[in-house]
């Protein structure tokens, strides 16, 4: 997608995030954080020139995308340097900028809780919600810094 479209997705997830209680509604609070964080990281990767703005939309399978093929027709296609579905999926080949390294490190912290707490029944403690909250704030700050360094 385009940078602006990713940023708009982030804004929408960020607004929804505020509706959920991190403890009582952890699953959707967390998922808005994860989805919003991934959206703004994709925007920052495009801005840094490490991945490309294009019409390839990410599926659940790394490097498999859906792409418009004529009017209202979609097909699957292999793609490289396109949007990530998660940090590391697929890996970014080029070296990350410092800001993006910070964003990726913070996303790794958040991803650590995804399967245990969302797919599994790992206890959702105050430590978990605080770690995710801090990680999300860092992702957004770092990705915004990367966007501010946008290459012409």
């Amino acid at each position: 997608m385009k940078i602006e479209a990713h940023v708009e997705k982030w804004r929408r997830f960020d607004a929804l995030r505020a509706r959920f209680d991190p403890g009582k509604e952890f699953e959707l609070w967390y998922w808005t954080s994860l989805s919003g964080g991934t959206a703004i990281i994709n925007a920052a990767l495009h801005a840094a020139g490490l991945t490309d703005e294009n019409g390839y939309l990410a599926t659940q399978i790394p490097e498999v995308y859906v792409v418009m093929d004529g009017v209202d027709r979609w097909r699957h296609a292999i793609g490289f340097r396109c949007d990530l579905i998660h940090v590391g999926l697929p890996p970014v080949e080029a070296p990350l900028t410092q800001a993006l390294q910070r964003a990726f490190a913070a996303m790794d912290v958040m991803e650590h809780y995804r399967d245990p707490c969302i797919r599994g029944d790992h206890p959702i403690t105050a430590e978990v919600t605080m770690a995710c909250d801090r990680a999300y704030a860092e992702i957004v700050a770092a990705a915004r810094a990367a966007l501010a360094e946008r290459r012409p």
């Binding site: 997830f13 959707l28 989805s35 599926t59 859906v66 969302i118 797919r119 029944d121």
Partner: protein, 126 residues
């Protein structure tokens, strides 16, 4: 996870979904995927097709053999989760118009997955 743990997670997610409206289609689709996957796993465990320690994260990760068995015992269940999953590239990760209608379809599939989980019974006679 055990069937009861899947039920607890699915019900928690479904309760939180009450804060979402059709205009919040991205999270409705994602929440349907999350809750639906728990109902899907509950059904698989109850059928005896998977063990509690072998949860399936996405329908497309099922083997062909497992998918065929599931089709024979509960036609349409894997396809219900597929429809939710296939909405994600266009409307959650992408900005294709029609997200609200897609979210409504995903909620229908979530209800279908919930019903299938409730109705699932062991395939093998005791």
């Amino acid at each position: 996870m055990t069937p009861e743990q899947h039920r607890s997670k699915a019900e928690r997610i479904t309760r939180a979904m009450e804060k979402l409206h059709t205009a919040d289609y991205e999270m409705l689709i994602e929440a349907a995927m999350l809750a639906g996957t728990h109902w899907f796993n509950l059904a698989l465990h109850r059928f005896g097709l998977t063990r509690p320690e072998d949860d399936v994260m996405h329908a497309e990760y099922l083997t062909g053999a497992a998918r065929l068995k599931l089709f024979l015992v509960a036609p349409g269940v894997a396809e219900a989760l597929d429809e939710i999953e296939h909405s994600r590239p266009h409307f959650v990760r992408g900005d294709v118009p029609g997200g609200e209608a897609a979210a409504i379809r995903c909620l229908e599939q979530l209800r279908r997955l919930h019903a299938a989980a409730e109705e699932a019974r062991p395939l093998r006679p005791e």
